[in-house]
Symmetry: C2
């Protein structure tokens, strides 16, 4: 069951450990990703409000796009015709595509799930669609990302054990179908530039330790995967439950491969998950919150629209060297927001994404120097206790 094209194209080199935390380099056909890493989310082949040049400038290495959204608009066939995602959106570094399992669960209407797949209505125009593992692998092949996620069955975060078992076991059966289809497509539909794709499985199991452990082991036994996704977390469950699941999965998965915690997250979540062996993250929070005026700073979160910032000459975050903080005052950015100016959306998205990229870089450094625990404690203490308006 080897994936011959990808055998040499993907590898993960561990550089350092600190407890369960790891610093590594995930090598892909479009270049290396130093881990831990935060992947900005470009749902529709654009990281909202940002230019690809902004992302390069702030040192983003890998970004995410979404199979569900791109299948609906502009169509994965269009993206393939335009030379694949990298060419279409002018991003020549690594890309990962999510499979749509989460979007079918969270966005689509009138969802019907059976063993074959999921029938649903598009959230754009209500058109009926049917996603199976095979259909989704074709979509992700058309998009042509470096890493493609399996199609999985996502459930609410607090689902009971029988519901979670049903979804987890179905996801594992779907994984086998995804793998078979990827192998078939590699032969029947080679990509124009022959760039191999890495299929990542997704460990499900809700908030049930036993299910998580079983899933991780079943998946690891199925195939020599280039990396592992951890899904179905940060979807409504309590934080301690998420942390517990991460510890279980860390134990059960091989230490030799990258782990990607899907849809997480906030700065504090990144730190807690890195401490539990996670290497890759993605989340819409920095851009979505940025468009709403929320700003991550070393001293906690602030809302730029507040009247206190009307004549505040300071940058958003005195410790930040992003393209917003190195140029503009809080007063100016507040004015942009109050006046509904587009530049405001861009500057806060830029700052927040830079903040998470920088956080992951700092953590990597702390892992390498062996100071992760001290660094994490100090970082969280300042972030969680300082009142941002007081600084």
């Amino acid at each position: 069951m080897a994936m011959p094209q990808s055998a040499n194209a993907f590898k993960f080199d561990l550089v350092a450990n600190a407890g369960a935390a790891r610093a590594g380099v995930f090598v892909t056909p479009h270049g290396p990703v130093e881990t831990p890493a935060f992947m900005p989310v470009g749902t529709l082949a654009t990281v909202k409000a940002l230019d690809p040049d902004d992302l390069v400038q702030m040192g983003a290495s890998m970004i995410l796009a979404n199979a569900y959204h791109l299948h609906l608009r502009p169509g994965d066939d269009v993206v393939r015709e335009m030379g694949g995602l990298h060419r279409f959106m002018r991003w020549d570094r690594p890309i990962l595509t999510d499979s749509g399992g989460f979007q079918v669960f969270s966005l689509a209407q009138l969802r019907t799930i059976n063993e074959d797949g999921v029938e649903f209505q598009s959230h754009i125009d209500g058109s009926r669609r049917f996603f199976t593992p095979e259909v989704v692998m074709q979509i992700e092949r058309n998009l042509g990302a470096d890493v493609i996620m399996q199609f999985d069955h996502v459930i609410p975060g607090q689902s009971d054990e029988p519901t979670a078992r049903d979804a987890s076991e179905r996801s594992i059966r779907w994984l086998a179908r995804c793998l078979a289809e990827v192998q078939r497509l590699e032969i029947t539909q080679p990509l124009e530039d022959k760039t191999p794709q890495a299929l990542f499985p997704i460990v499900q199991g809700g908030i049930h330790s036993g299910l998580r452990r079983e899933a991780a082991r079943a998946i690891a036994d199925m195939h020599d995967w280039p990396g592992f996704g951890i899904g179905g977390l940060s979807v409504g469950e309590e934080k301690p439950a998420m942390y517990e699941m991460l510890e279980v999965v860390d134990d059960a998965l091989p230490k030799t491969h990258p782990r990607y915690l899907m849809g997480v997250g906030f700065p504090e979540d990144l730190i807690e998950a890195m401490r539990r062996g996670v290497d890759l993250f993605d989340c819409v929070a920095p851009t979505r919150m940025g468009r709403n005026g929320a700003v991550f700073t070393r001293d906690g979160r602030l809302n730029i629209k507040r009247a206190e910032f009307r004549t505040d000459p300071r940058p958003l975050d005195a410790d930040c060297d992003c393209a917003a903080c190195s140029r503009f005052s809080r007063a100016y950015i507040r004015h942009l927001f109050v006046s509904d100016e587009i530049l405001g959306l861009r500057l806060l998205s830029l700052h927040n994404v830079h903040f998470l990229l920088s956080l992951a870089r700092q953590a990597r450094q702390a892992i390498k120097t062996g100071d992760l625990e001290t660094w994490a404690r100090d970082w969280l203490s300042r972030y969680q206790t300082t009142s941002p308006l007081a600084v």
Copy 2:
């Protein structure tokens, strides 16, 4: 009646002539402006959807901001407290502020005009405001632009002669009050950095040649102005009437100073006005149209949302080297628009502004080489006759 601070800070050097057209250099305290020049409009201290770095990269030299809008949001007092417009918006090249005469005419509600000034309701919150020449000079001083426009009485483009005469003569009386107030403020309220400001008068007179000639002469006789505004055009009158007015004003104004045609415009208008001796332009069209999906190209205007562009791999304009055309396909930009992605707004705004800046640079070159008429005829012929979808 000299303006001592500005005596050396502003000058206009004519480099070449071609008929009535001129190539020059308008020197300001924040640097030179090579004319003819298009000034991108940053109404609220931001050129909509663009970053100041975008504007520098595309070679914009002078931009415009608006006294009416900035008085309402964030308040000209706030801008002054933040160090003036240049510092507030991080633009260290020249800025011109419009006086609000046009906005009071076009945006405000329940407007009452008398000899003292204009009482109106804010279009934001309905609050009552009273603009006089003196109030507006204070606002423009607080903003701290290089060039400040007089407060004038703007009327609809097709107003009859008595109405146009009344407004033009009032504007000239208000000009004298603006000048006196600027001279008073220079002494009583020196700007922190002592940077002088140049007050530009505005020639009004509707579409009535006699009024335009009278206004131009009365204004030129009043003071040795550093430059002249031409207002009340492109506000609903026919194009031939606008061109005729430009010829009358060109004859009546001294040839030695820059002329700024306010609120114009479209590529064809720029060319026709440059042929009639205009040096400076501004217009919201490139950014406003860009946000609606309209694109200027050498072969005419196109609408990026059209289905024909769904898989079109070509740039917006094959002759363009802007940051959109040098990277992205029509197919990608269409996708961004269809999906309401912010990057689409930025890319089309960027392209359209670049298009007008580049047009003015090409015209300048043609004036210098003496080929303006041939260049203009060829440019307009291709722009007005080619079907953009056929190219």
